[in-house]
Amino acid sequence: MTFLAAIPSELIHIVIGMVAIMAFVGIHVLVLVYAERKGAGHIQRRPGPFEVGPHGILQPLADAGKLIGKQLFTPTNADPILFWMAPVLAVFPVLLLFVPMPFGPVVTVQEVNLGLLLILAFAGIGVLSTMLAGWASNNKFGLLGAARTVSQSVAYEIPLLLAVLCIAFQKGSLNLSTIVEGQGSWPWQWNIVTQPLAFLIFLVCAFAETNRAPFDLPEAESELTAGFHTEYSGMGFGMFFMAEYANMVVVSGVCTALFLGGWKGPGIDGVWWFMIKVYALLALFIWVRWTYPRVRFDQLLNINWKWLIPLATLNLLGTVFLMKVF
């Protein structure tokens, strides 16, 4: 057993953490798929999945089984290496994003001083996977979807960054745990009170970055059939699906840590407050998706360049000014 002792404890910590993250993501994707379909069903006054298990609770498992069981199919003239790299690239960076996530006072896989930066940096890889998927599948719809993704994600990263910077300036840290600790237990001590505009901008950007309705242009069904993942079937599609939901959890988690007081809340602080807030945000994501029509592509960019970026810049300048004065 001596060779075990030679392994640094840090490494064991990380490995256990990664395994825990994978389990967390896997379970949450299943739960979210179920919640989304149930939510959609009830909003539309129908039961949603109902037949597999009591109230359809096993439906996501059945769907996952179906997706795994399907043949992996590469279209003719597609670039097979890039084609299959894309879904893998979509999922794995998302797992890394959970590393600095402050679930609770001690429940963090690895405290990173530049945690916020790490999340923003690795989130960018998701764009690459979408672009590769659209490009490599040799499909015109996929190509259009990929082109949309790139301009959408690049554009929306700017106001997102500006909104996040406000908090970083205010708290003087890029460490998510530190930012959470800088907030109080009661809702009026959270950053959302001091930075409401940044919160709104962050939320809008979160919808756009995760490609959720009303900003789901890369996969706009009525125009591009399925956009970048038109040619994917089976688990190839399943990976994109997983990445989308995992991204939602990440964005909600970051939003909770930055603006909603993280694990802090009235009463006893802990993981449960973090999860409650994340679930509330996820419910908002689902609710919005089943309410609005999709915006048009040029409108999407107009909202960004004409509203969000100027507002975010002004907000940042105002924050900096106030920080300097007081």
Binding site: A40, I43, Q44, R45, R46, K140, F141, L144, A147, A213, P214, D216, A220, E221, S222, E223, T225, W290, T291, Y292, P293, R294, V295, R296, F297, D298, Q299
Partner: protein, 387 residues
């Protein structure tokens, strides 16, 4: 320039003969025949510059069922079920157009009660058709929930419509010289109950979809068709009325029942997709008014004329044309008879066919998402285009 000569073997006849424009950096994209936005087997070939549509060309014929030819090999009464299947959305409009043409040819006098029943059921059918369009159109624009609310109401209306017509989709209850079944007391009661309920639902539709800023920004100023363009292409129905042409067959052809009722032709002058949308929303309200008044004025009497023609009845020699305002525009039937039990020729004038012909011009220069929105705003029913 033929693509075969250039050695291009990809694609089918239409792709190869859809000539690329003067520019080299464009992409030709097939929307359909299997595409979520075409609601059926319509195919649109578009030439794209990035996301901008340089040209769009509809390809028809994927659902051609030879209804006109069938009219020549079936007796006149036997053709009635066919008319219910030309446009599944507004089946009774086609029913009425065909039996109207036969009645005009033979000079039949339809009992007044039957005429009222025709007005009531056709208007209910118009509402179901508009509800179907409303749901599908919002689906085109990316909103998934409204179609479920629309179908909730539509199912109730279909329950009602099932009572006199016996079916839920391809109604064929009009007969030469009247209708096949009388309205029951229960029908009248249910419709009376339903009209206020439907009036309460329409504001909800307005708040959820019509007033939504995303939808308004998607539709306002998109796909503008002016009155002149509508005239050039023979566009009728809500599409023409959205461009300021106050042409409604119900009013223009002086239908006896409609003349006595208090209702307005819904007209908007903007000519964009939003105007077409609003015209249809207004029409639903007007249809409710018509149904309410027609029910109140429903006279007693027979629903089928005394000497209604039997199956092997021979129509007199001659020609007749009869037009009805369908949910999508002017439905016209031109009937030529040489005195036999079969028609010599049945010409079906389909509003969707004419409306679609304006699409190529309306979609030019728009963004791909707008092209889809314009296609949806024309309210196309593919079986009606091909017939």
């Amino acid at each position: 320039m033929h693509y075969e000569q250039l050695g291009v073997t990809e694609g089918d006849f239409y792709n190869r003969n859809f000539e690329k424009g003067a520019r080299e950096d464009t992409m030709i994209l097939n929307l359909g025949p299997q595409h979520p936005a075409t609601h059926g087997v319509l195919r649109v070939i578009v030439e794209l510059d990035g996301e901008y549509v340089i040209r769009a060309e509809p390809v028809l014929g994927y659902l051609h069922r030879m209804h006109e030819k069938m009219g020549e090999v079936k007796t006149l009464s036997q053709f009635i079920p066919n008319t219910g299947r030309i446009d599944y959305g507004h089946a009774l409009g086609w029913n009425w157009a065909f039996v109207g043409a036969v009645e005009r040819l033979a000079g039949f006098e339809v009992p007044e009660r039957a005429q009222y029943i025709r007005v009531i059921t056709t208007e209910i059918n118009r509402i179901t058709s508009h509800l179907l369009w409303w749901g599908a159109f919002t689906l085109d624009l990316g909103a998934i929930t409204p179609i479920m609310y629309a179908f909730d109401d539509r199912e109730h209306l279909l329950d009602i419509l099932q009572m006199p017509t016996g079916s839920r989709l391809t109604h064929s209850s009009f007969r030469i010289g009247g209708v096949c079944t009388d309205l029951s007391e229960k029908f009248i009661e249910t419709v009376r109950d339903f009209i206020p309920k439907m009036r309460e639902r329409l504001p909800m539709y307005r708040d959820l979809v019509t007033d939504n800023v995303i939808l308004r920004k998607r539709l306002e100023g998109v796909g503008v068709m002016d009155a002149d363009m509508c005239r050039r292409y023979g566009v009728t129905g809500p599409v023409a009325r959205g461009s300021g042409l106050a042409y409604d067959v119900r009013q223009a052809e002086h239908f006896p029942i409609y003349e006595g009722l208090d209702w307005q032709v819904a007209v908007r002058t903007e000519g964009d997709s939003m105007a077409r949308y609003l015209v249809r929303m207004d029409e639903m309200e007007q249809s409710l008014n018509i149904i309410e008044q027609a029910l109140a004025a429903l006279p007693a009497g027979p629903v089928l004329m005394k000497n209604a023609p039997k199956v092997l009845w021979k129509a007199p020699k001659g020609e007749s044309y009869f037009a009805v305002e369908g949910a999508r525009g002017k439905i016209g039937v031109h009937l030529v008879s040489n005195g036999g039990e079969f028609a010599y020729k049945v010409k079906l004038r389909s509003p969707c066919f004419s409306n679609l012909s304006a699409y190529a011009e309306a979609a030019r220069g728009t963004i791909l998402a707008d092209a889809v929105a314009i296609l949806g705003s024309l309210d196309l029913v593919i079986p009606e285009i091909d017939r």
